[in-house]
Amino acid sequence: MAEEVKKQRPPLDPNSAKARLGKIAAEAYSSAQEAKARGEMVGWCSSNFPVEIPETLGLAVVYPENQAAGIAARGAGERMCEISEADGYSNDICAYARISLAYAKVKSAPEQDMPQPDFLLCCNNICNCMIKWYENLSKDLNIPMIMIDIPFNPDYEVSDAELAYVRDQFWAAIHQLEELTGKKWSEEKYKEVMEISGRTSRAWLAATACARYEPSPFNGFDLLNHMAVMVTARGKLEAAEAMEKLLSEYEENHEKGVSTFRTEEKYRIMFEGIACWPWLRVTSTGLKSRGINMVTTIYADAFGFIYEDFDDMCRAYCKVPNAINLEYARDKRVKLAKDNKVEGLLVHTNRSCKLWSGFMYEMSRQIGEECNIPVASFDGDQADPRNFSEAQYDTRVQGLMEIMEARK
């Protein structure tokens, strides 16, 4: 194993991308709380709901998936899951949903509080589990639910029929929200949001593409944290500016030959799946201590939405990772693996996410063959700490490393 070199870290520069992105992520909660205090309506929003809609309408929204990840990362996943389980929810259900349903009931979690919702914005382009979760929130809290259904696309391309269906729903959602909140859709504002969102996305994609450099100028685990801003704030100007700053820092790191991966980069891998938030340090250290940098993940381009107009935006939301067929999903990953010169694939078989994990065995076999790289998987969970074994993780990562070493 590579020796970890401990370096004295300087205090965080408030103008650094990391500080600015952290501030934006934190403000996503505080600004919603302030809106609530002013008497404005606040929504709970699923992570791949078209954020352009609430942003253009000027609605305050918060993201239960982000909250659940935060709660899990701060050690309270099990406590919250158990609250839902006591109400009859199976422990096989997505842990984000269990945490969120528990929060809607107890309305407090010091690990990450957020305002209670007046409406719900649901989009199932990541899973149908999302529909069930939000239905129950809507029923329990007696609040309206706006549902945009983006079906799983069995084909490589988005059909005209799907585009028309999704476009009509976007407009229906906009009109429902106008009626509910009294806010008005403005084409001018939408264009501004679209432009900023594109700017943020371009910077994000360019920053993550810096992984092509050897060594990579960043630790791939950084992406998992910065992604929160892409999810919640990509339509905001400060997000665009912070992402551009991130890009310039990564380019600068490359020029100086430094990296936020603070040890020798001996191996480069792609990571598949949502982070194991309750075990973030363990999963990160297990890689870093061996000199393995997770340089890329499908997250890297999943939240980079670049589009030209409203229809193009609809298409972009039809192409998020969990809404696409195996072949398209595979090809996107193969491109990432090749562009970033990865030497191995580590797959998180995520107990919480049936859709993401359900055809991953076949897809990862195909990626391994296409890229001629070894594949290892481990069992875990995005938020329930009980579904992870440190010993299994360690063994699998060690095995992957040994194969990568033998191929050097």
Partner: protein
């Protein structure tokens, strides 16, 4: 022997034979020169397949050990999907022209993707349904889904889809729905019919042409009237879940003198509640209207959770004394509904018990204990 000449027992035996030997049924159709198309759960547009002169045959998996399927699915995907792939890899479905798989839950989405690589000889045809199925844009999208299925079937079989043949098939399916609703209601007043026999009647429908099954069911209804109801006293219950066909489980219910008098089971009554409406619209639009009007199911968007109220309502209407939830392990649509069902039953003073089941269950002793406790509760 013609169906009309069969007595009650012979009819029940016939249902049992079909339900327990679908392979024989499939071979019979293939030997007759018919093409067979597999239909995965749920709400697959069988009418489209039927109108093309082919036999839609249910593929709901089987109670078998999983081996090959484990190469494709992690352990936490529902065993219905896994056993469908297992049966496919074992060649059980050989001879089928295609499989149509709707994408109404996450595990069904996964099934379609894995099927393409696990069972390469039987083409996968996706049926992509909208969840926002009631507005005009939803109905239009449903119709586009049906057109795509028809086009893929044409490619797989060489048989042309002709929309003007669809109304006759719609009539066949509506008549079958009516017969199945009638038999469910009739059986509630016939405690001498066992739960296994009831299950056979529903399960055999999956493997037969619906016009043939309707004829048998109508004959059964007449035979039941002729025989009259027995005076046997049973404990009346309602079942809810995706499947309720495990023989061991049904036997335990029979041994405990429990009678299923109504069900909210996806493989049973849920699929027969909604008819295709009459009217002047084009046949495919009528079929899309049927899906739009289909409700009260865990895999269909239901923000008001009307399904939960319907379970209580149906149980009361059938004079069921309790609700037995048979939860298919790892089925999250059902798992999300359960706490609300439990709450609604409790508010209606209706005992409700949960038993987790799957297609690999070999030991039913825990289920027996739960059922015995349920019986005590109802007594």
């Amino acid at each position: 022997m013609s169906v009309q000449e069969m007595n009650l027992q012979e009819l029940l035996d016939c249902f049992h034979e079909v339900a327990h030997d679908p392979g024989k049924q499939m071979k019979k159709y293939l030997d007759e020169g018919k093409k067979v198309v597999l239909v995965a759960p749920v709400y697959t547009p069988e009418e489209v397949i039927h109108s093309m002169g082919m036999v839609p045959m249910g593929a709901w998996g089987g109670d078998i050990q999983l081996n090959e399927a484990k190469k494709y699915f992690p352990a936490f995907i529902c065993s219905i999907m896994q056993s469908i792939v297992e049966l496919g890899t074992k060649g059980v479905y050989d001879g089928a022209s295609a499989i149509v798989i709707p994408s109404l839950c996450d595990s069904l989405k996964v099934l379609g993707q894995n099927w393409k690589y696990a069972v390469k000889d039987i083409p996968f045809i996706p049926m992509t349904y909208p969840q926002n199925r009631k507005p005009a844009f939803g109905r239009t999208f449903t119709k586009a889904g049906y057109e795509r299925v028809a086009a893929d079937l044409e490619k797989a079989t060489g048989i042309k889809f002709e929309e003007d043949k669809l109304p006759a098939s719609i009539d066949v399916y509506n008549a079958h729905n009516a017969a199945m609703r009638a038999v469910s209601e009739k059986l509630a007043s016939h405690p001498e019919i066992t739960n296994q026999q009831r299950s056979d009647i529903f399960k055999s429908a999956t493997f037969m042409l619906k016009e043939e099954h309707t004829e048998l069911v109508n004959a059964l209804l007449a035979a039941l009237d002729k025989a009259g109801a027995s005076a046997k006293k049973t404990i009346r219950i309602m079942t809810s879940g995706i499947l309720a066909d495990a023989p061991d489980l049904l036997t335990i219910l029979d041994e405990n003198n429990m009678q299923i008098v109504a069900d909210d089971v996806a493989a049973e009554s849920r699929q027969y509640r909604t008819d295709t409406p009459d009217g002047d619209k084009a046949p495919l639009e009528r079929l899309a209207d049927k899906f739009a009007e289909t409700d009260n199911c865990s895999v269909l968007y239901d923000v008001e959770k009307k399904r939960v109220d319907k379970i209580v309502e149906d149980a009361k209407k059938a004079d069921a004394k309790g609700v037995l939830v048979l939860l298919t392990k790892f089925c999250d649509p059902e798992e999300f509904d359960y706490p609300l069902i439990k709450r609604a039953c409790s508010a209606a003073d209706l005992p409700c018990v949960l038993i987790e089941i799957d297609r690999q269950m070999v030991n039913y002793e825990q289920a027996r204990t739960a059922i015995e406790t349920f019986k005590d509760l109802l007594a």
